[in-house]
Symmetry: C2
């Protein structure tokens, strides 16, 4: 990173590249986080796609359901991408599509028993992974970091 900044200082001495250092650090911390979280998921033969859906459903509570479009909106995804994700999860027996009794256009997505218990297992290891990522930070530093990041943009 320092060498990249040095290159820019040489090539464009008229530009102060220091924002690149800060933003680059945000960017790369996000990437590292992403890597570790993903590494945890592949142990369960899951990717972010399935993970998002499973945990979103799980945190609604046992037996609660969401429509495909609500899921898509919740995770800022197109509904067609959601169709695709649900296809895969349904094929694996982790979720099921039930027709909405109140609206024959709609579906209600629910976790199966297997999906529920997998989600339960994953949320535990996921939080352990995250705790591990930030274990070098004290409680105060964690709050500092959060409040600094909240000021971005």
């Amino acid at each position: 990173m320092d060498s990249i900044l040095a290159q820019w200082r040489r090539e464009r001495p008229d530009i102060d590249p220091s924002p690149m250092a800060v933003c680059g650090e945000i960017w790369r911390a996000g990437e590292r986080l992403r890597q570790e979280v993903l590494a945890n998921l592949v142990q369960y033969s899951l990717d972010f796609a399935g993970f998002d859906v499973l945990l979103t459903l799980r945190r609604q509570g046992k037996g609660e359901t969401l429509s495909p479009s609500a899921l898509a909106k919740d995770m800022m995804l197109s509904t067609s991408a959601m169709t695709n994700r649900l296809d895969r999860l349904e094929k694996r027996g982790l979720v099921l599509r039930a027709s909405d009794p109140l609206d024959r256009r709609g579906l209600k997505i629910a976790l199966t028993e297997e999906g529920f218990s997998l989600a339960n297992e994953i949320v535990g290891s996921h939080v352990r992974t995250e705790e591990n990522m930030i274990s070098a930070l004290t409680e105060i530093e964690r709050d500092q970091l959060r409040s600094l990041l909240a000021k971005i943009r």
Copy 2:
């Protein structure tokens, strides 16, 4: 975010979800950064793919070249993805493929005049965008943020 944490506290009182708050903030700051940077690029009909290549070449200096595999390595991409990116940039007349005089297997990728001046323009607006994202932070806070993020993982 707070409501998501509340859901987890209700569903899994045995788990402390506070790491989610910190990691979620890192995640979302990265997303916001991504959004803004991308919004700047689309003004030039570019995406991250082309942006990465153009700026990587530009910061090597005027007339300098890199091989497709060096570019791929630099941005942690498969060489096949790089072939694709270069195809698009070459079609737009922003880069050109010259054969490596020292190795007939190899290519040297160079910016065209148009690519060079576009890269020059973009690096300016890119840094302005980034400066804007972090404009709420003092110089000291920027350093704090960098050092806190460096401790992640």
